[in-house]
Symmetry: C2
Subunit: 421 residues, 2 copies
């Protein structure tokens, strides 16, 4: 008995989330005997509530394949948390009505922690309301903080971007430090965990030393200790590269990026931990600085995605469909590491309740004793995730990314306003 499949993207997008979409859609197309049509919700769960569905069957094979080299979320993503059943029963009833109206038997939700929670809630409420649904979460997050899985699709590419950018900018500063900039500060993402900041450590190698100071959200910021370290690096190397996580806080738990309201730094400013650190360096050490904030550039940089990351993102999409077909409700494909060197991995399965609302922190043993760098154990963990290149095709000098047709499925239900939910 054929059922239709519904796929949706959720949370902050990555440079390879569309590879997961391609994995889902290509696998679904190959299951012609079991899966009828393959829909995607526009803008994640919001699109399900609004019955705003896209018919992926109308997209060409070439367009779906091109998703593998296209960043962003091809169907639109969202930041939207479902309320608990007790507060918003109508919301869940609406979801089931949309599933029923379009004969959805399989729901694949592609996201991070919040999305795993959403997928779990949807699967529980479907059971409660008696709607037959197999619900599978497909992992994705640059934050690399999902439980159970060894790593998260999307992270390896950010790690490659950050390590490469830090290496390149350091060589630039190294050239100029005699008579110009002596400290370069790069701000990277990671509000709660230092996984992305840690990736900067991959720019250093045993045979290619760089004077790098990393500021992790896990380590409370101490101005004197930090400045002493930077001054030391300048003395030895002539310059210093500082990588600061957006989530760095002082001993009182205040974000550095909100230092405008804090006595410690004394200047009102517009957010961003890099400018705070940069200004502090020039004020206290009297050396010239430059600073950069990578922001969305780091998570959308498909042009330098990790091939390993890309393959894993595609695989979790495909295996997600396998799990759905097998009726493995409330599960998520996870990446299991078999060995570090050579790096070998496989896709396993986790129960969603072991994943939802958990957060995987970076182990303290991954941060060096002084708190400013990564350990060999961290390097062994991170490096494989950045391996390999898979550049997009270029057209006239710029990547040739695809935009899908995104043709809407005909609506069958009354209009539903999310604002009323």
């Amino acid at each position: 008995m054929k059922k239709n499949l519904l796929y949706a993207q959720s949370g902050g997008v990555t440079s390879v989330i569309n590879a997961s979409a391609a994995g889902v859609i290509e696998a679904a197309r190959s299951y012609g005997a079991r899966i009828g049509r393959t829909f995607a919700a526009r803008n994640g769960i919001i699109g399900v509530l609004r019955e705003d569905l896209i018919d992926t069957d109308l997209e060409s094979k070439a367009a779906i394949a091109a998703l593998k080299h296209t960043p962003g979320g091809a169907f639109g993503s969202c930041r939207f948390k479902l309320k608990p059943f007790s507060e918003a029963r109508a919301q869940y009833e609406r979801l089931m009505a949309v599933f029923a109206a379009h004969d959805i038997g399989y729901f694949l939700y592609n996201g991070g922690n919040d999305s795993a929670d959403t997928a779990l809630k949807v699967s529980e409420m479907a059971a409660k309301l008696g709607y037959p649904l197999t619900c599978v979460a497909v992992p994705k997050t640059i934050d690399n903080d999902l439980a159970v899985t060894d790593n998260c699709p999307g992270f390896g590419s950010v790690a490659k971007y950050v390590a490469t950018s830090v290496l390149e900018a350091s060589l630039d500063v190294e050239s100029m430090c005699e008579s110009s900039t002596k400290v370069f500060v790069l701000e990277v993402m990671g509000r709660h965990a230092g996984w992305i900041a840690a990736a900067a450590g991959l720019a250093q190698r045993p045979d290619f030393d760089l004077p790098l100071v990393i500021l992790f959200p896990e380590i409370p910021f101490e101005q004197d200790k930090f400045l002493a370290r930077v001054a030391h690096q300048i003395k030895i190397y002539g310059y210093c590269t500082v990588v600061v996580s957006e989530g760095v806080r002082d001993a009182n738990g205040h974000f550095l990026s909100e230092a405008g309201g804090s006595d410690a730094f004394g200047h009102a400013q517009l957010g961003g931990s890099a400018p705070v650190i940069a200004q502090m360096i020039t004020r206290e050490l009297k050396v010239k600085h430059h600073w950069a904030v990578a922001d969305y550039l780091q998570r959308s940089a498909r042009h330098i995605s990790s091939k390993t990351d890309l393959e894993q993102a595609y695989s979790v999409g495909r295996v997600g469909v396998d799990l759905a077909i097998e009726g493995r409700n409330a599960t998520m494909p996870v990446i299991e590491r078999i060995s570090d060197t050579p790096y070998r991995w496989q896709i396993g399965v986790a129960e969603l309740k072991r994943v939802a609302n958990k957060e995987k922190k970076m182990p303290r043993k991954f941060i060096s004793k002084d708190g400013f760098g990564i350990t060999d154990a961290c390097r062994r963990y991170l490096q494989p995730l950045t391996l390999g290149e898979s550049p997009p095709p270029y057209r006239d000098g710029v990547p040739d990314y695809v935009r899908l047709l995104r043709l809407s499925v005909e609506r069958k239900l009354p209009i539903y306003r999310i604002e009323d939910a």
Copy 2:
């Protein structure tokens, strides 16, 4: 009669300045009958004054070839302007003493406007002081503002980086705008001219529309007009990408990035035009923003250098040596455009006095009438410069850049302190 060649790098480095170095050194090695040894000054003209020279003959053929894929300035660069002869005759006498001590007959100085001026001064003073020297400038600047040459080595790669980053980040925001960020602001370099900002326009194509607003230093910033344009883009597309040059000023000539002290925006802040623009958008339009500052990342991003730019950078290095050998004193190789489509170019020659202390502005006809975008003429000019890819080799997930031995040439003169000059 063999003479030695001295090469030096000057000013802000680029992702391909080392390709020019490779061109110089490989060409010099091929002129064994005319050129004795090939030296490089450490940190530009500073290294000449200090007699701090590097013996490039001790670098392997493979290491010199690897310069073509390595960003930064392999021999060190500098920000240092020679004083006029009338104020600092001793400085010029020192330069000649160093040239004489190391039998330098050819001096190749690789840089931008200031460096062309330095090269011209050195050549004039050599003549005045009776030292036989052929002095050639090798062009380089991401600012693309050198006179005579159609474009400047280093710029095409920044243009490719900016266009690609804007495209990628825009796809990211497009995915999220329904329930999250609606405006993304990217700050790019260009204190005086909007060439780099203009390159963002290449992210748009006739068949791939993006809601892009570019703020050029050439166009005085008008807050109301700008906000109306952004609001319009959000209304039509759901989001907007803003690319702001670091050099944007208001009608009174004040830099936006110094708006901290200005009444117009009213908030003290730490520099950077992106955070000023971003805060303005959220304050006035009540939408969520994200902002990024590319800073050194854009000019050091060898991983996404333009192949055309790379080939041009290498060629001006090689031709620079040809000119030196031919005794074409006080000249500079320039890039001449033969045709736009297909793009064809050749290397020509310019007298240094036509280049030094000139600045090529972006023509007004390259900026659209409304001041927020580029024209077709601009696109025809820019696009060829970004054509082709030439990625570096990777090792363990990160580019495999080279660091030279940089072994010093034995000193023959008394120590000279630049501070005393």
